[in-house]
Each structure stands twice: as C-alpha cells, then as structure tokens.
C-alpha cells in the first residue's frame, strides 16, 4: 500500500518534470519558459521528495528530503527572479 502510494507520488512528480521540460522547449519567450521551468519543476520535486520520503519510511531521511526541497524552492525562486529582472532591464534599455 505504501509502495503503491509512493509510486503514484513519484510518477506524478515525473509528470510535472515532463510538463516543465516541454514548456521550456515549446513556450515562446523567456518569461513563460521561466514560469514553466520553475513552477512545474518545484512541484515535481516536491512530489518526488514526498514519494521518496514515503518510500524510505524513515523520519530523518524524510526531514532531509523536506530540507532539500525547501532549499531548492528558495534557490529556484530567487534565480528565476534574478534572470527575469535582468531580462526586463535589458529590454527597457533597448
């Protein structure tokens, strides 16, 4: 039962990764691509971490996975902001 649930979570995470990657390749400009990449991948990583935590059935491992997810959330949100701001500045300068 737990194995089944964790598999579902991991598969759902992979789906969001796939969606984010397709978005990165197919969307027309930098802002929408950033949106697809950071939003979808953050959710994908969250589901993946939840699935792996469930799979490990270990509190300390689960907490580590949670910590990794939070760190990636903060880093990707900040880098997306920085890239978008830089692109915006270059646009207004032109």
């Amino acid at each position: 039962m737990i194995n089944f649930a964790s598999s579902i979570l991991i598969l759902a995470g992979l789906f969001f990764y796939l969606a984010g990657s397709i978005g990165l390749l197919r969307l027309p400009d930098l802002y929408t691509r950033l949106h697809a990449l950071t939003k979808a991948d953050n959710l994908g990583l969250g589901l993946l971490a939840a699935g792996l935590a469930l799979h490990s059935q270990h509190l300390l491992t689960s907490l580590k996975l949670l910590l990794i997810w939070l760190a990636v959330l903060a880093a990707s949100a900040t880098s997306a902001h920085l890239i978008a701001r830089q692109a915006r500045r270059q646009e207004t300068r032109r």
């Binding site: 760190a71 903060a74 880093a75 949100a77 900040t78 902001h81 920085l82 701001r85």
Partner: protein, 331 residues
C-alpha cells in the same frame, strides 16, 4: 530495482556525460560553455554516486560543478566576449579557425594517446593483482587509523603525505593568485529578494561545512568538501555585492592560507621529534590529530578557492564601498 532498469539509467547517464562534454566544447559562446560544463559536473557527480563513491561525488558536485563553474563564469565576465556570435568584435572566426589544423590534430592525437595509456594502466591494474588487496589492507588497519571512514583514513593517515603535498600545491596556487595583485572589484549590492536568500543561505552553508568536516571521520565528507562549501558561502556573499565576504585581512589571511600545510607539517615534525615516523600518528591520538589537520586544511582550502574567485588580493572594504558609491552616482 531490477538490473535492466539500472542498465538503462546507466546508459542514459553515460550518454548525458559524453553529450554534455561534447556540447560544452562545441559551443562558441563562453558562458553557455561554462553552464554546460557545470551541468556536466553535476551529472558526473551522479555517476560517481552510482559507482558507490559518495566522497568523490560530493567533491565533484562542490568543486567540479559548483566552484569551478563560478570561477570560469568570473573569468568569462572579465574576458571581452570575442567569440560570442553577434558581438561587434567578430573578427575571429567563431569556431576557432585561428587555431591551425595541425595543432588541433596534434592535441586530438595526444589526448587519444593519453586516454589509451590510462585505459591500459587501468586494465593492467585490474588484471595483474587481485584487486581486493588494497581494500583488504585498508579495512585491516582501519581500527588503528583513528577514523572509521576508509576514504578519510587513506587521505589523512595511510597516505597523509600525498594530502600534505596536495595542500602544498594549493598553497603554491594561492601564492600565484596573490602575485596577480589586487582582485577584481566586487559586484553591485543585491536587491531585496537575493539578499533575503543570502541572509539564510550563508549560515546554512557554514553549518553544512562544519557538519561535513565533522562527519568525514565516519561517513562521506572531509576537509575538501567542507572547504568547498565554506568557499561557496563566500562566493554567494561576493555575488550579493557584500563588501566583506568572510576573508580576514592582512596577516591573519596569510596565516589562514598557510594553515593547512603549516599544521600538517607541525604535526608531522612533532611526531618525528617524539621518535615516531613522519605523520605516523599514535593510534590513541590519531582521531584528534586528523580532526585538527582537517580543520586547518578546510580553512586553507576555503581561503584558496575564495581568493581564486576574487582573482587576486582582496580589496579592503572601504575600496569596495567607494566603488559601489561611484557606481550609484553614475547610474
């Protein structure tokens, strides 16, 4: 997990490593090349993890992908973007045709010869001796090494001499960096969002470095990984435009730079005076001595990597503040 799916995963991993290396070398834009190189380092770290070498994986991720990437990006920033397409100075041919065909083939042949020699040496090493001899020797002596992580036991005890010389190489490198004179001026101060990240990321990095140093005695970790993490904290501070990036000034900085080699030599020579072999720790003291040497080594490694990122002697905080003020007036 069954063998087939692992085989598919390994195949994908190998394909990504070779593909990323190729892409990184083939691109004409330096920045793109560096970013591909960082991705290459991360995938390589995963490969080391698959080979059950988490120590190497950690070092590859921290130094190979992280800090080397930061160093290369900083170098690309200083370099005028000659090779990038669309730049006004596009006189040099984009795919490097200024390098003559003969020298390119010579480099290719030499690299192939080197790869062949290494592959032959590896095969030879695997076929000639029973290849579990070394691991057996290590696990047999692990109890007297003072640590329970075999990698740390080899690096800091059994082959401590090699690590001492590695630290001496780093000291030589940092002397070269110092000879370059003043480093490049810092970056402009970060906006509120990046600054908010820096505020909690830097303490976490410092804590992680301390953890890696401590855990190296019985699990993957150690001075090199900890030093790289500590240097990463300084790199983040510098990227955020802070005038102080954690490097001490003047004399203290010189002591920190030399601490790794200095403490190592001091321990070795003291043991020599006490009638033991050079760096032959008494088993009862080995754990404490290794931790002492690793702490000093971590500080030296972090200072070296950070000074490499600064690209010379760090400018004093006042100079950086003045530069920032000037920049603000200009904009």
């Amino acid at each position: 997990m069954n063998t087939t799916s692992l085989l598919v995963f390994d195949g994908l991993l190998l394909f990504s490593i070779v593909g990323l290396a190729w892409a990184s070398l083939a691109t004409t834009d330096e920045r793109r090349s560096v970013i591909l190189f960082m991705a290459f380092g991360l995938v390589l770290a995963v490969a080391w993890g698959r080979l059950l070498a988490p120590d190497v994986a950690l070092a590859e991720a921290a130094i190979g992908a992280g800090l080397s990437g930061a160093l290369l990006l900083a170098a690309a920033r200083k370099q005028p973007r000659l090779l990038s397409p669309g730049s006004s100075k596009g006189s040099r041919h984009p795919d490097g045709a200024n390098v003559s065909l003969v020298s390119r083939w010579a480099v290719t042949l030499l690299s192939a010869a080197l790869a062949g020699t290494l592959a032959w040496a590896l095969l030879h090493a695997f076929s000639s001796t029973p290849h579990d001899m070394l691991p057996r020797a290590i696990s047999g002596n692990l109890a007297s090494s003072g640590v329970s992580n075999p990698v740390t036991a080899v690096l800091l005890n059994f082959r401590a001499y090699d690590t001492l010389l590695e630290l001496a190489v780093l000291l030589t490198a940092v002397l070269g960096i110092f000879a370059l004179g003043q480093g490049t001026p810092g970056y402009q101060p970060a906006g509120p969002i990046f600054d908010g990240l820096v505020r909690w990321l830097v303490p976490v990095l410092i804590l992680t470095a301390g953890y890696l140093l401590w855990v190296g005695a019985h699990a993957p970790g150690g001075a090199f990984q900890a030093g790289a993490t500590l240097a990463a904290a300084g790199v983040v501070l510098r990227l955020a435009g802070r005038s102080r990036i954690g490097l001490p000034d003047g004399f203290v900085l010189r002591i920190v730079m030399a601490a790794g080699v200095g403490v190592f030599l001091l321990v070795g020579l003291t043991l020599l005076l006490l009638g033991r072999p050079f760096l032959g720790y008494p088993p009862a003291w080995a754990g404490a001595l290794i931790l002492l040497i690793e702490t000093a080594a971590m500080l030296s490694i972090a200072a070296t990597l950070l000074l490499a990122f600064v690209g010379g002697q760090p400018q004093s905080a006042d100079v950086n503040a003045a530069a920032n003020r000037q920049r603000e007036e200009m904009s």
